[in-house]
Symmetry: C2
Subunit: 308 residues, 2 copies
């Protein structure tokens, strides 16, 4: 089933201990779309500047991604510059240029409005709600946000959260939003704000799912070479939502959610192996399936509770 994503399309300048790349294709919606596109029909909503390369847009179109909702504005595309230290855990932002993103006013093409799945990547919660308003009969809405909005626009964010099914945020943000360092308690707080399902991204430690009183813990795939962590969270979300939209169950259930988290983790693990979308745009189904099996192997142990 069709999946609408609204977010950023950007050019990133990234430096890691293993190399650097200037003006590499990036942005939450870009990473998300490339990944979700392996599993379902993706409809992209974003704003780009005059500088956005046609070949980058063509690359997305050639992957079957609907770019009708991508508008080109006067000015430059959103740009982000950052670097990572040796532990690769957190980016240090060196420069952010909003450029055309400052005037972003997302209008959904008519053809998008009947889609059943919606992912609101990390943008202003007021804009996220505006996108929600344009959907006719959406079945499942997931949202990402960040400390900037939790800190600076909590009232707007809470109004948006009331209408969301799944919140996908990182661990520090979950602690901030839930107002406690204890993740189980934070999850209770957050799931009382609207989203019945919470996914907490923990970087190299994997992800936690809180849903219907159940907790699922997924590891990250231990890689010998992590090249560039940029986009890992967005590709996690892309794999996750892509799988859910593809399965299109009547009611979201624990089994699908758990599998979707592993699919997201698989996609994130590939993302970090190269700069930009270089690795994830060259994947095939066999590679995705192979790493899914490796996740199974990574976490498997035999029950012995009967012998204890």
């Amino acid at each position: 089933m069709s999946l609408v994503v609204v977010g950023t399309m950007a050019y990133d300048s990234v430096k890691t201990p293993f190399g650097e790349r200037d003006l590499a294709l990036g942005g939450s919606a870009t990473y998300f779309s490339v990944c979700a596109g392996y599993f379902t029909k993706v409809m992209l909503v974003a704003v780009i500047g005059e500088d956005f390369a046609n070949e980058d847009l063509e690359m997305l179109k050639n992957r079957g991604i609907d770019t009708t909702g991508v508008t080109r504005s006067d000015g430059k595309s959103f740009r982000w510059k950052g670097e990572y230290g040796f532990d690769l855990n957190e980016a240090r932002t060196l420069d952010t240029q909003l450029n055309v993103l400052a005037g972003f006013d997302p209008v959904l093409p008519e053809t998008y409005r009947d889609a059943k799945y919606l992912f609101l990547a990390n943008i202003d919660p007021t804009l996220q709600r505006k996108v929600l308003d344009q959907m006719n009969d959406v079945k499942l809405v997931a949202l990402d946000t960040m400390n900037f909005w939790i800190d600076g626009a909590i009232d707007e964010l809470k109004k948006t959260l009331e209408r969301v099914d799944i919140l996908i945020i990182n661990e520090g943000e979950a602690r901030m939003l839930g107002e406690t360092p204890n993740m189980v308690q934070a999850a209770k707080q957050i799931t009382s704000m609207g989203p019945k399902t919470l996914i907490v991204k923990r970087g190299e430690y994997g992800a936690l799912l809180f849903h219907d009183g159940e907790i699922f813990s997924a590891p990250a795939y231990p890689l010998e070479q992590v090249f560039d962590p940029t986009g890992a969270g967005d590709t996690f979300a892309g794999g996750f939502m892509g799988h859910i939209a593809r399965m299109n169950e009547d009611k979201i259930n624990d089994t699908i959610l758990r599998q979707a988290i592993i699919v997201g983790s698989v996609m994130a693990s590939y993302t970090v192996e190269k700069f930009s979308v270089d690795r994830i745009k060259e994947l095939d189904r066999a590679e995705i399936a192979a790493r899914f099996r490796q996740f199974k192997r990574l976490t498997n142990f035999d029950d012995l509770s009967g012998e204890l």
Copy 2:
């Protein structure tokens, strides 16, 4: 099969955001023994001072733990004082008094020397090797250490590591010993130093096992109330080694190692629910089995690689 442990018996003064306790029974060998004692015969080697309460020693004896190797010296027992902040991740040490530990010269009773399993808790690597020397025909040796020895006694530590099968350390220590932030690379470095098997403790993020080219990732149990993390690592080791000694396989294998890590994680999850050994001394087999099943539920997902 019998399991010898050498380590500390101590009195800890601990402050957490949820309460404080002065001079509570602690020490690596104490925590380890109480946990391992649920699964196998434990033979304890440690030094205590004149202040060590007979009732604490009796508590251990009543649990079937062999305390023949516990010697009482003039002076006070080892004492540690620390506090934890709200995230409970790392203790801030306020005071360490070695006391009788400064003159610790472990001598194993004859009855201990034919034991097949040995756990060397975190003490001076020279003393760890001295204990090893006294064992007649040990089948499996595991060792814990800390940054203090990696930093200050690396040559002695490396000499000891050459004779060890399993190294159990925390994540920061693994990075330090392996001289890289990347855990897969660090594991390769460390397993070339002697121990064929490496277990990396990651606190609230669980544990990683590196063995024979395989990686296993175990979560920590997400608790709504973590009361006091002191002893979690030692009880993890106690559950882990207790299970291995109980199973007493001819050759250590991946299946047993994975199960042992979950048993260790179960014990650690109980430890942190109360101060000192208060929670782990009151457990029964049914509770241990129940939480083992919860770990299974926590990590379980259905394979779908065939459909990808």
